[in-house]
């Protein structure tokens, strides 16, 4: 059932056991994993870390480890399916799940012995009450009084039976949409806080996890702001604890500060001009793929009085006089050009004299490392590299991540520009559809196609040459009031069923699937009829 707080006696049990950590491949999960690893080190709990990328991976990992481990911790995977059904574990296996995917499968919610969910109480779960969907055995037995031979052997006490009929009737709406809850790393940070073992490092990882949800458009703006406020309370608590006029901290200690900073990706590690050109928000609002857009950008820079030579050089080398008021100057001018939200609440960290990073910088760098497409690198190598880049002692890795992220952003921009300019976007009834041909730069670079959402594409298709399959990503339309609930998951499933297309629903996000190229057209037709 639910465990809002990690009870110390449960923790005591884990101290003397070995634990298997199964972690999904997204930044929030990585941050949560780092926090949990730090907690395990404090209490010297032995654990095995297994990165998983999809349901199949999860199944294989479980089969490999089920002999040696009784306790499994799943991070950002497993809550939205009937886990016991899928994995068929022994009766003494216990699963601790901290997953942001919603809706949580009702069987997981109401299982009392084997599945323990770490969820915040006020997260909107919309779980129907127990009686609506489970029918207890007692009711059934009453009706079977005629069957004498079986009654004596049945154990006393209620047994649950998941009643399909009642479930379908009661909660059709419940599983229609998928969305995300509070970030897993924030959950683990709260756990550390309750155990009074929270450190600034953990706080920073929690901030990065939260920022990942925002950067990749998984939560609403309201939720992001609320969570930022929660984090801000922790940050002030930590800052108060250590700063004192008399005994100031060593410069090498980590300092986290609240920043109301610009929404220009990686601008402090790049040049201002490059950052403006390659950030989704600015490039889409200015429409930088058109000549008009370019002109507007030049006007914008001139309006702020920023000479081109300054703006094109590395940010750190810009004149101090320009850097001082940069944020206010940019905000003023952006309002004139219709970019109302150029500034966003976030956090920055600095330690040592040289090292300053914003939370979004870290997210992009780590994401680039996680999904890096260099040859000879397996998924788990990338996972470990990305995990390493989150530690303060691995700054080189972080910097290489930043370089990779820059390349990725530039590739995204070029692709977007070419798609729009060459009219690759087709309107197919209820959605817009864009097909990226073989010639586009490395496909895997685009497994995070969030950049394209701001261009109001609702559906994108990528071509994977090796496997002859296509990756389909469904993204709901972008609007001011959108609650980020994604209906594409169910739509994909139904369309696949009705046309018996060969699909692979392996990703933990049900809105991302793989589809055989040959079935593409009939799948899309089915999808069109479904969504109309």
């Amino acid at each position: 059932l639910f465990y809002m707080l990690y009870l110390t006696n449960v923790k005591h049990v884990l101290c003397f056991q070995r634990v298997a950590l199964l972690v999904a491949s997204d930044i929030d999960a990585l941050c949560a994993c780092k926090i949990l690893q730090a907690l395990f080190h404090c209490d010297q709990v032995q654990y095995t870390l297994v990165p998983v990328t999809g349901w199949q991976d999860l199944g294989t990992a479980f089969l490999e480890h089920k002999e040696q481990f009784r306790y499994f911790v799943l991070i950002n995977c497993g809550a939205n399916v009937d886990l016991l059904e899928m994995l068929q574990p022994d009766d003494d296996s216990v699963f601790f799940i901290c997953d942001t995917h919603r809706p949580v499968d009702v069987v997981n919610v109401y299982n009392e012995t084997q599945i323990k969910l770490l969820i915040k109480q006020d997260d909107d779960l919309g779980v129907p009450p127990y009686d609506d969907i489970f029918r207890d055995e007692d009711d059934e037995e009453g009706g079977d009084s005629g069957n004498e031979s079986d009654e004596g052997s049945e154990p006393s006490g209620k047994r649950r039976r998941f009643d399909e009929v009642l479930f379908c009737r009661g909660s059709v709406c419940h599983v229609q949409y998928e969305y995300h809850g509070t970030s897993a790393s924030m959950m683990f940070f709260e756990l550390a806080w309750v155990l009074t073992k929270d450190t600034k490092d953990m706080l920073w990882w929690a901030v990065i996890g939260l920022t990942d949800q925002w950067v990749h458009d998984k939560i609403t703006h309201m939720k992001y702001v609320t969570d930022i406020a929660t984090m801000q309370r922790h940050v002030s608590r930590h800052n108060h604890r250590n700063e004192d006029e008399e005994n100031s901290l060593s410069i090498d200690c980590m300092r986290i500060s609240f920043e109301y900073d610009l929404r220009l990706t990686l601008y402090q590690h790049w040049s201002l001009y490059e950052s403006i050109c390659n950030s989704c928000y600015t490039s889409c609002n200015f429409k930088l793929w058109t000549l008009n857009g370019q002109k507007k950008l030049q006007e914008f820079l001139a309006d702020m009085g920023l000479p081109l030579k300054q703006v094109r050089q590395k940010f750190n080398s810009m004149d101090m006089s320009i850097k001082e008021n940069l944020r206010d100057v940019i905000e003023e001018s952006s309002n004139k050009y219709g970019l109302k939200d150029i500034r966003i609440q976030t956090f920055g960290v600095h330690f040592g004299f040289k090292n300053r990073f914003l939370a979004s910088d870290m997210v992009h760098a780590t994401a680039a490392l996680l999904e890096s497409t260099e040859k000879d690198e397996s998924d788990s190598d990338n996972f470990i590299k990305a995990l390493d880049s989150l530690s303060r002692s691995n700054l080189e890795r972080l910097h290489s991540g930043i370089e990779l992220a820059k390349r990725k952003l530039m590739a995204i921009q070029q692709t977007v520009a070419s798609c729009i300019c060459t009219n690759l976007i087709l309107s197919q009834g209820p959605f817009l559809y864009c097909y990226l041909m073989e010639g586009t730069p490395d496909v895997k670079l685009f497994s995070k196609p969030i950049a394209l959402t701001l261009v109001t594409l609702s559906l994108m298709v990528f071509f994977d040459v090796e496997k002859g399959t296509v990756i389909v990503v469904g993204i709901p339309p972008e609007s001011e009031t959108s609650d980020k609930k994604n209906f594409f998951g169910r739509a994909f499933e139904k369309a696949a069923e009705s046309t018996s297309s060969r699909t692979l629903h392996d990703n933990f996000d049900t809105s991302i699937i793989e589809l055989k190229t040959d079935d593409r057209s009939k799948f899309l037709d089915a999808l069109i009829t479904l969504l109309s």
């Binding site: 080190h41 404090c42 209490d43 009074t196 250590n242 005994n247 060593s250 410069i251 090498d252």
Partner: protein, 186 residues
């Protein structure tokens, strides 16, 4: 001897910590430790203090000599005297490095302390080099140096011994009629 060995020996020094857990007395081969009660200071060896600190189970109290004013005085004294002045602790350099690496959030004005200790170290090493230089060049037979720490001795050991060996070889070759190899006249 390697500097890491010297650091290992330095970890046996005692330092005061304030634990946040409780544990009865523990009986180790090197001696007894504890009992540990949350909030009450207890003396433990540095290796244990660092381990507990990393597991967030204690707070380290900086030793009495690790204070800006005291270190400033020591530095001035060191600069004035020609010989070596008494050191705050036989392992002052290693302890500074270890404690400032792992527990700099428990030590006030950590950066200044680091600079001051480095200044003291530099002055002493300079004196040591001068002394070694004069010892070798003036072919002295013995020297007496007070108040040197193991780390400083270790720094100069390899050089001093090798150069003295070289000098001995050169000297013994110059003496006519010595049993070691003679120069043939060319």
């Amino acid at each position: 001897m390697d500097s890491s060995e010297v650091e290992f020996l330095a970890e046996k020094e005692m330092v005061k910590i304030i634990p946040n857990f409780s544990l009865d007395r523990i009986y180790l081969i090197g001696g007894d430790l504890g009992p540990f009660n949350p909030g009450l200071p207890v003396d433990v060896p540095v290796w244990l203090a660092l381990n507990l600190k990393q597991r967030q189970k204690c707070r380290i109290v900086p030793p009495a000599w690790m204070d800006v004013e005291k270190l400033e005085e020591m530095r001035e004294l060191e600069r004035k005297e020609d010989t070596f002045t008494p050191v705050p602790s036989p392992y002052y350099m290693e302890l500074t490095k270890l404690l400032l690496n792992y527990a700099s959030d428990n030590i006030p004005k950590a950066d200044e302390i680091r600079t001051l200790v480095k200044d003291i170290w530099d002055t002493r090493i300079a004196k040591l080099r001068l002394s070694a230089d004069s010892f070798i060049s003036q072919l002295e037979a013995h020297a007496k140096l007070d108040n040197l720490t193991l780390m400083e001795i270790n720094t100069i050991r390899a050089f001093l011994l090798d150069s003295l060996n070289c000098m001995y070889k050169l000297r013994s070759n110059l003496q006519p009629g010595s049993s070691k190899g003679q120069f043939t006249d060319y």
